[in-house]
Chain length 230, copies 2
DNA sequence: CTAATTTTCTATCATCCGATAGAAATCTGT
DNA sequence: ACAGATTTCTATCGGATGATAGAAAATTAG
């Protein structure tokens, strides 16, 4: 409680026009994502972020209220983008699940439709730093960040849990289903987290083209097999 | 390069007796593991560590040369303990692998003998903080830490890779085998990293007793299945 | 053009951090 | 008990960090 517990709220903005400053805000956001991803929350100093963005230091406080606010804004920015890119596919799957007479093969296909885009995104995410930002933030337990994170992870997990539950013919709340679901989703995030290890083990430089295809096939094969046995 | 690149080496010690100070060293080490695990490297200040250990601040520099040295010492301390507790089992497996005529069932049993103790350790590691320390350190890319980490992870991965390669009848360097091996080992670490998520999804308070048994069974069942279905 | 508002900048604060100096206290072997 | 080495302490340094004050510049509306 020694800290400045002044719970500073974000500055009011965007009532009038003044579209000029929107650009600095954007620059700051992108520089922050990059540096948070590369260095982590603590090591990425506000000065380095401001310099990297080509703006002056106080702009950071002006637009985001402080470092923590900036970090939260980064998370929201990425979350929003991921949602718009993955949302449609998952919505389609969710709708398809309303049919109660789906066979095992169809359910597996739906699972694949959820899993593959996510995996592909994690392996090749356009700005290299996005998924990395998440990986960092998750490990750092940034204040109130889990809430935002779960908007993506939680939805995905819920969807995967339902599909696996129906494949196994068990209640989604039971241990078998829940554990398997977490493992499946966790496997996908591994592609990001253990990326250097995987690449080194394989002697690959990256996950481009043919290699991404192989990666997806092997991982999917493992998932499908683990849900078929017994 | 602005930093004090004085590459300070550890103080000489332990030539004579002077066993009195060994206790402070130990206290410092244990307090550091706890705080590094709870707060991460940056947030765990040297002052907090010293206070928590009940010693004065300069003792930290005296015994470990600095914060970084202390962190490295923590990693070595944990690594050593894990090795002594897991080493015998893996050595036995390694030796059993010298036989070339092992059947699928036998190979699976060997894999299980490697995987289960590791999983159990990750789920219930005595001082709650040890595995957490690793999780943090891995994400933080502490300087030269990967080397130490790989003394455990690397050996385990190599062993798992060989077993899976023989089960699948493929060269251990190929993509199928290497990817699967990383996934299997990664699944185990998930138990630590995603621990709160798993517990919440299951409505469990912890991984004690019967629940640990269930966890092990479900995870192992998934691994075994994924290696059986062609 | 002018007044009101928004945005940016320079300079500075207060604090925390890791590290060190150097004296004081403690321990060990003889 | 004594000399020499080791361990611990108080006080302080230099530097980096996040944040702010307040003037200056830029932008918009009337």
């Amino acid at each position: 409680m020694t800290r400045t517990a002044k719970t500073r709220r974000r500055r009011r903005r965007a009532d009038g026009g003044y579209a000029r400053g929107e650009q600095t805000r954007r620059r700051l956001l992108e520089a922050a994502i990059e540096l948070f991803a590369e260095l982590g929350y603590e090591r990425a100093s506000t000065r380095a972020i401001a310099t990297h963005a080509g703006v002056s230091l106080p702009a950071l406080q002006y637009y985001f209220g402080g470092k923590e606010g900036l970090h939260r804004a980064c998370a929201e920015y990425i979350t929003e983008d991921v949602r718009t890119r993955l949302g449609p596919a998952t919505d389609r799957v969710r709708q398809a699940l309303s049919r109660r007479d789906l066979g095992r093969a169809e359910l597996l296909e739906l699972l694949r439709a959820v899993v593959e885009p996510f995996l592909e995104g994690l392996a090749t995410e356009r700005p290299e730093s996005w998924a990395l930002f998440f990986a960092r933030a998750q490990g750092e337990h940034s204040a109130g960040f889990d809430t935002i994170f779960q908007q993506i992870g939680g939805r995905l997990l819920a969807l995967v849990t339902e599909i696996i539950g129906r494949i196994l013919g068990r209640p989604p709340s039971g241990p078998e289903v829940a554990i398997r679901a977490v493992i499946v989703v966790g496997q996908l995030t591994l592609v990001r987290r253990a990326r250097p290890i995987i690449l080194r083990a394989l002697g690959w430089p990256n996950f481009a083209g043919e290699r991404l295809q192989t990666l997806k096939e092997v991982i999917w094969d493992g998932i499908a097999s683990s849900l078929s046995g017994h």
